[in-house]
Symmetry: C2
Subunit: 222 residues, 2 copies
C-alpha cells in the first residue's frame, strides 16, 4: 500500500523536464545536455536519452542527430494550431463523455471552476483549469484521445505561462459555467459549441506586450 511502484527513472526525468519546459524555466531553444541532466538526477545518461524521446514525441523538445536536444520553440502560428486541435478533439471527447457525466462529476468541475476564479497566480489557475477540462472529458473513456488532449494542454500551458510571467488578475470563467449549465440540462450540442469557441479562442486576440502587463485576458486562457 505504502510501497510506491516508482516507475522508471526515464519517465520521472521526462515528467520533471516537461514541467520545467511548460513553466518556462527552460527557455525555448535552450540546449538539454544529457550528461548535465544525468548528473542532476544522479543517473547515467541512458535514461536521460529515453526521456528525451518522450519529450520529442510530446512536441516539447526537438532533437537533431549528433547535434543534441533543445527545448522546442513556438510561435503564434503553433499556438493557434494547438488551440484548433484542442478545440476539435475536446468537442469529440465531450460528445462521448456527456452520457457518462454524473452530478458528482459536474459538481467537482464546478468546484474546479471556482478554484480557478479564486486562483492567486497563473499556475494555480492553470491547474484548476486543466482539472475542469479533465473532469468533464475523462468519462469519454477514450484513452488515446485523452492522451492527445493532455499533450495539447501542456503546449497551451506553455504559451499561457510565457504570456503571463507576472501580474495575474482574477477573473470569472463564464464559459466554464455555461458549459456546466448546458451539460446539467443534457444540452450536449450547446456545451460542445461553447467548449469549441472557448478553446479555439486561444492565441486569437491581441497579444500582451512583452514589456508591459497583459491586458486582454480572453485571448490567452482556455
Amino acid at each position: 500500500m505504502s510501497k510506491e511502484p516508482e516507475d522508471t527513472i526515464a519517465s520521472r526525468i521526462s515528467r520533471v523536464l516537461a514541467d520545467r519546459i511548460v513553466r518556462g524555466e527552460l527557455a525555448p531553444g535552450a540546449r538539454l545536455r544529457q550528461d548535465h541532466i544525468a548528473e542532476e538526477f544522479q543517473t547515467s545518461h541512458v535514461p536521460v536519452r529515453e526521456a528525451f524521446r518522450r519529450l520529442e514525441a510530446q512536441g516539447l523538445a526537438i532533437s537533431e542527430p549528433r547535434r543534441g536536444v533543445r527545448v522546442a520553440s513556438f510561435d503564434l502560428a503553433e499556438v493557434r494550431e494547438v488551440a484548433e486541435m484542442r478545440a476539435v478533439l475536446e468537442v469529440l471527447a465531450i460528445r462521448h463523455a456527456a452520457r457518462h457525466l454524473t452530478p458528482a462529476i459536474l459538481d467537482a468541475a464546478e468546484e474546479a471552476t471556482r478554484e480557478g476564479d479564486a486562483a492567486a497566480d497563473v499556475h494555480a489557475w492553470e491547474e484548476a483549469n486543466r482539472r475542469f477540462h479533465r473532469l468533464i472529458l475523462t468519462p469519454c473513456g477514450m484513452k488515446r484521445l485523452l492522451a492527445s488532449i493532455d499533450d495539447l494542454h501542456a503546449a497551451s500551458a506553455r504559451f499561457l505561462f510565457s504570456a503571463w510571467q507576472s501580474g495575474w488578475e482574477k477573473r470569472t470563467d463564464h464559459d466554464h459555467r455555461a458549459i456546466l449549465a448546458a451539460l446539467r440540462q443534457g444540452r450536449t450540442d450547446e456545451a460542445a459549441a461553447i467548449l469549441q469557441k472557448h478553446v479555439q479562442w486561444i492565441g486569437r486576440g491581441p497579444q500582451p506586450a512583452k514589456t508591459g502587463i497583459p491586458r486582454e485576458t480572453f485571448a490567452i486562457v482556455g
Copy 2:
C-alpha cells in the same frame, strides 16, 4: 547529394518495428525483447530502448516497467476512436489546406486515387490511399497536426491489414473522387463533409468473419 544523413540507429529501428507492427508481422501482445532486436540490428540494446519509447508514444507498443515492451493490442472500440480522431483532425487540416491546393496537387491526388483503385493487394491500396490523404492535407502547413494524423493513419492501417489478410478485391473510391471534385470547385465545406464521413466510417459496418473472405468493404477502408 548522394550522401544520406543516415539518422540515428534508434530512429531506424523504430521505423522498421513500426512498419512490422502495422503490417501485422508482429502480432498484438507479442513481446519485444530488446536484446533480440539489438542482435538483429547489430547494435546494443541502448538504441533499441530509445526506439521503444517512440513506439510507445505512437501508441504502437506498450511498456510496463521491468516487465518489458509488447505490441499494443487494439479492439473495435479503439479502431473507432482512431477513426473519429482522424475524422475531426483531417477535416481541420483540409479546411486550412484548401486555399493552398494547386491543380498540380489535385492531379497528383487523382493519380493516387487511380492507383488505389488499381491496387492488386491491400498494401498497395493502403500506400496509395495514404498518399491521397497526405497530398491534400500537407498544404495546411501545420506540422503538429500532420504528425498526429500520420500516427492515426498508422493505427488505421493496422486494422485494415489485420482485417484483409488475404483476398483483396479492387474497388472504385467514389469518396476520393467526390472530395477532389468539391475541392476543384472551391467547395471546401462539401469536401470536408465528405472527408469526415469517409474517414469516420472505418470500423462501423459489419466486420469480416475471421475465417471467411471479407465481404463488406466500405466499413474498413478510408
